[in-house]
């Protein structure tokens, strides 16, 4: 399965836990809000990505199936 990490920026409070847990894929911007690198999660990091998404205290980080963009 192809998966990607998506931040719900409306919910995100910029606590930075995700960037600490998964520095391979998530960094922080200059205000502490997460920047996800890469379109999809490499298979070897899927487990870590799942744990990281579950660790977000605001449930703002989702690991979801990766589908190509289409209709708005």
């Amino acid at each position: 399965m192809t998966a990607r990490l998506r931040v719900d920026y409306i919910t995100c409070g910029g606590r930075g836990i995700c960037a600490e847990l998964l520095p391979e894929l998530i960094s922080g911007d200059d205000w502490g809000f997460p920047i996800v690198t890469g379109e999809s999660v490499p298979p070897r990091l899927l487990g870590d990505a799942r744990v990281t998404a579950r660790a977000c205290p605001l449930l703002a980080l989702r690991l979801e199936p990766h589908t190509p963009s289409g209709t708005p």
Partner: protein, 402 residues
């Protein structure tokens, strides 16, 4: 005779009888599949700025409504919160029934029993009057006042305004076509797009394609403003050379430096480079610009583009809906940095560029991306001024550095 103008400035009459005399009636019966094919064949795209194919959006809403067995919601978006753009207000004031025709057709195509038109306060009277004239038609048409503000016209914000009375973007997924804020598949179309739909239903796709270019067919409304002799809203065939677009407003009133194209979240273009290009997505792509929501704003040669951009950047930062961190903190910091650069107070291009990269594409809507596009274009087009400003002078408009 086929009347092709969306906005008729003639005698100013907007009543239903005059409308029907001008354009003729809508077809008595509508074959949904055939009309949807016609809209697809016409190549109509959204005129609110994003230029998404209208037929695809309509078909997705119709499909999702049928699958979920829910009545979809159709929203005509006449919020037009962008201060420099007047085309939707002009359209709704001069041709309100064309917008209502389009809303009615969009409702029939998607299977919606009702459509809501969200209207800028300045056009509210004309639209309400027109809607009252058509009470009892096949689709329940209602008109409501739009929320204030730049972001209120973003499609999810407009849908949220209709559903919950709060004009904040909701973010996707879920897509509006799947599950809008009202809980049902939702179609949000700009009011100008609806007006085009009303004419395609009458005159067909071949007629629609007789204006514009093969890849970007039809006409569009543009707001021509700034340093032109007769600013205002005009209708042009997509792809008209920029020089001719300015002539629709009796031409420049001064030597021009640059043009702001598309909207506040559009892009600056060097005036001399843009003049010969077609006003179309393909024509402007090399400049990093697009027709967007149809703004063509002319900046005279003696005005400082960096100062103008600083004002726009501050405006866009203040217009944030306040929901997403990168937008709230990033756009504010960026606006401050652009001001420092424009005022010759030592702002850093490297820092600004870094922040533009950090906010671009991050947020529930495209507000940060639009602001980033605008400011990046300013750094390109007004690049020669940056060194001057850093040295504490402005060659273009000496008064702006204090």
């Amino acid at each position: 005779m086929i009347v092709r103008e969306l906005v008729l400035l003639g005698d100013g009459r907007t009543d239903l009888a005059t409308h029907l005399a001008r354009y003729g009636p809508l077809p008595a019966t509508i074959d949904r599949a055939a009309l949807l094919r016609d809209v697809d064949g016409a190549g109509l795209t959204g005129r609110g700025g994003a230029a998404y194919p209208a037929a695809r959006k309509i078909a997705a809403v119709a499909r999702n409504a049928a699958r979920t067995r829910r009545d979809p919601l159709v929203i005509g978006n006449g919020t037009e919160g962008e201060p420099a753009i007047d085309k939707d207000k002009t359209l709704m004031t001069r041709s309100p029934h064309l917008v209502l025709d389009g809303a009615q057709i969009a409702a029939l195509l998607t299977g919606a029993p009702a459509a809501v038109i969200v209207v800028h306060p300045r056009a509210l009277g004309a639209m309400k009057h027109a809607a009252a004239e058509r009470a009892g038609g096949p689709v329940r048409l209602s008109v409501r006042r739009a929320a204030d503000g730049f972001v209120a016209g973003e499609a999810t914000a407009t849908a949220c305004w209709v559903a919950r009375g709060a004009s904040t973007p909701t973010g996707t997924p879920p897509r509006l076509s799947e599950h809008g804020p009202a809980g049902v598949p939702t179609l949000v179309q700009n009011v100008e797009t609806l007006a085009h739909l009303a004419l395609i239903a009458r005159y067909g796709p071949a007629w629609f394609r007789s204006a514009g270019t093969p890849s970007e067919p039809g006409s569009m409304l543009v707001t021509i403003t700034g340093a032109v002799r007769a600013p205002g809203v005009r209708e042009i065939g997509i792809g008209m050379p920029v020089r001719h677009v300015l002539e629709q407003a009796d031409g420049p009133s001064a030597p021009l430096r640059a043009l702001l194209l598309g909207g506040y979240s559009g892009a600056w273009a060097n005036a001399a480079e843009a003049m010969g290009l077609p006003l179309s997505a393909a024509g402007l792509a090399d400049l990093g610009a697009a027709p967007g929501a149809g703004l063509v704003a002319a900046l005279p040669a003696d005005a400082c583009g960096l100062q103008e951009t600083a004002r726009l950047a501050r405006y866009l930062a203040r217009q944030s809906a306040g929901q997403c961190g990168p937008c709230v903190f990033g756009l504010d910091a960026i606006a401050t940095e652009v001001s420092r650069i424009a005022d010759g107070r030592g702002g850093g291009i490297a820092l600004l560029t870094r922040w533009l990269g950090q906010v671009d594409g991050r947020g529930a809507c495209s507000h940060t991306s639009g602001a980033a596009r605008l400011i990046r274009s300013a750094l390109r087009v007004f690049g020669d001024d940056l060194a001057d400003h850093a040295a504490g002078r402005c060659a273009v408009s000496p008064g702006v550095i204090r």
